[in-house]
Symmetry: C2
Subunit: 352 residues, 2 copies
Amino acid sequence: MTTTGGRVRVGERLPTLEDVARLAGVSRATVSRVINGIRNVDPQLHELVWDAVGRTGYVPNRLARSLVTRRTGTIALVVSDSESHDDDPFMGRFFADPYFGRVVGGLMSVLRTAGIQLALQIVGTEDQRTRLVGDLRHGQADGVVVLSLPGHDPLPRMLTDAGVPAVMIGRPADPVPINYVDLANDAGAALAADHLVARGCQLVGMIAGPADVPASSDRITGFRRSMARHGHGWVPQVSGNFTQESGEAAMRTLLADHPHLDGVFVANDLMALGALLALRDEGRTVPADVAVVGFDDSSAATAADPALTTVRHPLEDMAAEAARLLMTRIDDPDMRVSSVIYEPTLIKRRSA
Amino acid sequence: MTTTGGRVRVGERLPTLEDVARLAGVSRATVSRVINGIRNVDPQLHELVWDAVGRTGYVPNRLARSLVTRRTGTIALVVSDSESHDDDPFMGRFFADPYFGRVVGGLMSVLRTAGIQLALQIVGTEDQRTRLVGDLRHGQADGVVVLSLPGHDPLPRMLTDAGVPAVMIGRPADPVPINYVDLANDAGAALAADHLVARGCQLVGMIAGPADVPASSDRITGFRRSMARHGHGWVPQVSGNFTQESGEAAMRTLLADHPHLDGVFVANDLMALGALLALRDEGRTVPADVAVVGFDDSSAATAADPALTTVRHPLEDMAAEAARLLMTRIDDPDMRVSSVIYEPTLIKRRSA
DNA sequence: TTGTACGCGTTATCAT
DNA sequence: ATGATAACGCGTACAA
């Protein structure tokens, strides 16, 4: 340890608690107490220690700290996929979609101020899932926010069995006692139905998402039930996979099968964008000939022409709530399993 | 330690190397060697140990391992902002934009297969930056990929000074000996200029991004220089901030000041989307009255109507390359500072 | 080839 | 109030 004009060096390695203690002439324990702001400390030493900290440029080693406190200050965002799409462009599309970014933004808005960092994990295979749970049980992260893509995902159950603090965004497909934040998707779809009917549409179709994911199936049942209540017992329906291209294709087949269609509910904005393109291409004007209602109120909705009438999905708020829920669960292991359901609203623009 | 039918429990706590060793009747060191696949091991013991691992359900503790190996298997993606936008919706917009997701997707495509996880960090204030560098020097992450938003960012220099393996996506604004992956933005802008001139445009304007960020200023200088070469010494220019709304506003003022405008180069697709809306609103048809060229070839380009002619920005590839560059730098501390520049291409669609 | 013993940097427990 | 000292779980020289 060499001293030159106030600054102190300890060779190549970074200064440790030990170095600070030696410089301040106290024990490691005392320095630790000062750093962590524990009361029982002589004001004199307090200042002495901070001075030594400043002169050495000491920074606590988070790893070493985590090893003993069993707290990492990290929350994992795990994207659970059904299979490993390593050479499949699917995951690429997933990240490029507004969905992923909105979730991350919402999570960060609350984690940032709490000084918690987000670690991104993607699991596709059974092996990856078990490894993830293993790491989690060791406290590699204090808790996890789960984005489950496939219909029947074993991960939620594995997490609860392992006792890992977890919150899902979107309810689990299978009944599992896990915390989650979700949107009343069926109510949102009903909003769309009400609006299309009130508009006077006579033949309304639906472009749905994959039937095995809850958010999608809820929109389907919600829409069909509401339409039925309005006297429309039968609703032509075609499924896409939430991409713009699939929406465009779905619209074409819908139009081909039902030329008199004058309204359509699309399960997400991206597909609605594709539907708009197909409609224009087929010479139909929106909303005069065909009224279109989307879902999500993503950036695509205002980018569309005409701007999309859509069901607002407050994803950022939901992600933020998930983060808060997770943080309280982490601090209170006895917290009961709970869920928060958001109510959707209809945003009226020009397309319907 | 209790044994029941092959399965072994060690009380509440998770099994450690010690537990496995005891069960296998060997020392901790031997178990460690087997786990880490080190040669010099008796095949007999090898099997014995793996058996014990299976029966205990042992999983290595990454934290403890990292503490001694000084390797975390984690790479940090740090988004460096000029100020703390805690209550500013700016960061929310950033995450919702395709840019962020494309970068994450590109990074994950290579990190995933390498079994490396991504930790997201956002730094806005001076304090947050120094804390980040401190943690990084301790090896909280093996390296960092930097996304620098503001014009003059002190972070790159701080990282190189600290000796932290780092790669930037987009060159640093100030000269700093740091690795980076970038696009030849000026060449891309020149492509746009060539195309608009070849199309026969007489009065071409530009909607630019913030002048202090390199990617943006390079597009400006590249475009103006190329236009000058084509005999267009003067190019009317209005600046936006890369959002759709700002693009719409910019287009309106450009149109108001120069009614005879018949071509426009927009510095990114999002603003181009806004420009398209403004043009339609003003009764101009694209590309007949005004030709529009965007930049990025993001999902917005194909979503637009008419589909955008745009300069392709291979962001996913660049991010993947950044990850690879970082990984080799981590393995080889003596790697010379290097950069990779990608060449842009013009994607011709309907808007120009 | 295997085991012993130490170190990684911190917090927590116990005396004092 | 403060200081030894024992964990935390693992890798690895070094010795055997």
